[in-house]
Symmetry: C2
Subunit: 335 residues, 2 copies
């Protein structure tokens, strides 16, 4: 079992001091290094297979190369997984590592941040305001989906708006909404409902008929029945998820009804299975890759290391062009 190879070893091999090694490897502009020794150092490092210790580096810098992403308590679905992927990839390009972690209960977030000393924080869930403020005050760059939601171009608002727009343009008057029951997703549900209500108002439609349902054929059938048998029957439904859309399709089938004839159904996320539904699911695709990359850029923006151009304007979730939210309509057969 051989020891770790440190910068001291490299220095010795190159016949210079350890400091020189450090200057070379970090490309420090403050200290000029002759081309000859630079080459000697680099080759020695490569030859020995030197890998700097992140622990020591973090200790010295007071800031690690980790970017902490705090996840909502709900089980992580495909969308979030892809967001993580994309963000991770983007950050890696700047020498940063993404570490995703479920939001710890009871203010454990601050101690997590203290112990990891991440370079930045990405929130995909709501954090209590005082904690957030404390972290921000400590100079930590924080990219928050929660705040970005006030942004009219945010994904959750975009989804709701696009769903209603499509249904309204297809001539539907009375529309329903299917969302998961309260606990768990609560705040995303709130946002989504708000977006849909607002979109209905904008299209001069009556307020939507909301049903809370779990992913269960029987429950879905019951909800469908309530919609269809209402005094003013619902003719189209916005589902929270493609998953919930599947549930509705299943509920419809159980009642011997069909989409879109008896009830139009539109989903959200465009999971791979959406095109395989019976009938193929009309849905709103979320560009998770783009979303992940934007998160990464938000985190990078204020980080001294990665930001580069410190003159860059504050980044929002809005597209670079400033126009398009990261959602798009996928029309298939169900609505």
């Amino acid at each position: 079992m051989d020891r770790r190879v440190t910068s001291t070893d490299v220095a010795q091999a190159a016949g210079v001091s350890r400091a020189t090694v450090s200057y070379v490897l970090n490309g420090s502009a403050a200290q000029s290094i002759s081309a000859a020794t630079r080459e000697r150092v680099l080759s020695a490092a490569r030859h020995l297979g030197y890998t700097p210790s992140t622990a020591a580096r973090t200790l010295r810098r007071g800031r690690s190369d980790l970017v902490l992403m705090l996840l909502p308590p709900e089980p992580l679905g495909r969308a979030l997984a892809m967001i993580i992927d994309a963000a991770s990839e983007q950050l890696e390009r700047h020498g940063l590592r993404l570490i995703a972690h479920r939001l710890p209960p009871q203010g454990g977030a601050v101690s997590l941040v203290h112990s990891l000393a991440p370079a930045a924080l990405i929130l995909t869930t709501a954090l209590e305001e005082p904690e957030l403020a404390a972290l921000r005050a400590a100079g930590l760059p924080v990219a928050s989906l929660h705040e970005a939601l006030s942004d009219p171009l945010s994904p959750d608002l975009g989804i709701g708006a696009l769903q209603v727009k499509h249904l309204a343009e297809a001539g539907h008057q009375r529309i329903g909404v299917a969302v998961p029951p309260e606990p768990g997703y609560s705040w995303r549900v709130q946002i989504r409902l708000a977006a849909i209500r607002e979109a209905c108002a904008r299209h001069r439609l009556p307020p939507p008929a909301v049903e809370h349902l779990r992913l269960d054929a029987d429950e879905a059938a019951a909800s469908v029945a309530r919609w269809l048998e209402a005094p003013e029957p619902v003719t189209a439904v916005c589902a929270f998820d493609d998953d919930h859309a599947f549930a509705l399709l299943s509920g419809l089938a159980a009642l011997g009804r069909r989409a879109p004839q008896d009830l139009a159904v539109i989903g959200a996320e465009d999971v791979p299975l959406a095109s395989l539904a019976l009938p193929p699911l009309t849905t709103v695709r979320v560009d998770t890759r783009l979303l992940g990359e934007r998160f990464a850029r938000m985190a990078l923006a204020e980080t001294p290391d990665g930001g580069g151009d410190s003159a860059a304007p504050p980044v929002s979730l809005a597209a670079p062009g400033g126009a398009v939210p990261p959602v798009s309509l996928i029309v298939r057969a169900s609505a």
Copy 2:
């Protein structure tokens, strides 16, 4: 912006030396501490909100509190996400943090390990043998799904066996297999095919008819057609995934055929949507939670910190009882 609170601060507040603080907080058995000072130290630490710096701790110990989980290149699905969740939760109970990372290309794994100095390594994908050996030689505990696959109780083997068993007992003679096309999932596909072939032999059935298909209704329909029109028609199919099972159902519908009358379909994973398929999907559930916990235990087993009972036997993916693999049959309507 207030400074970080270190163990020195705690020591000062409690009126003891920094070493004493360290001994108290780590509950070191080598050094006895009077109950009085222990209490003073603990209260001071709590009062100041002391959180030890993982960087410094890692630097000192030479080993971090991270457990590195290397993921396959394929996009991570629900199953793996849940495995990560479960493992993470279990490790956290031992003061360890799970960090999942896509397997870096071209032997980047070793440098990743060198720079992070993780306490253990969990492999959910195959790593080149020399690298693996090098890491093991460096004294790093490695929990590998790849190796565990030789274990007859491993999940992928269990899935294949259970699928075939169910179909054989239902009287099917000629069975097909639907797996994703080569690149990406390759080695899991290999394992699965081997398991299914072996199970067919055990049940005295002819070798299965393999079809490679992407998640696409047309492709699925083509595969279904080939199975049904073969000289000896296939009557039942094992799908790699529930996703692939959905594709097959969709393909069947496109041809005007039905499951299970024309072709029985059995999936794998039991995703939430499985029960909502038309018809509801018969599938093999993988107990991802249990699997994740076992991974965590494997990683913990050789870790000085978490292992506890160092006399514990080497842990395998086999269930504690020694009998049951973490898979179970869920019979619905499709097979």
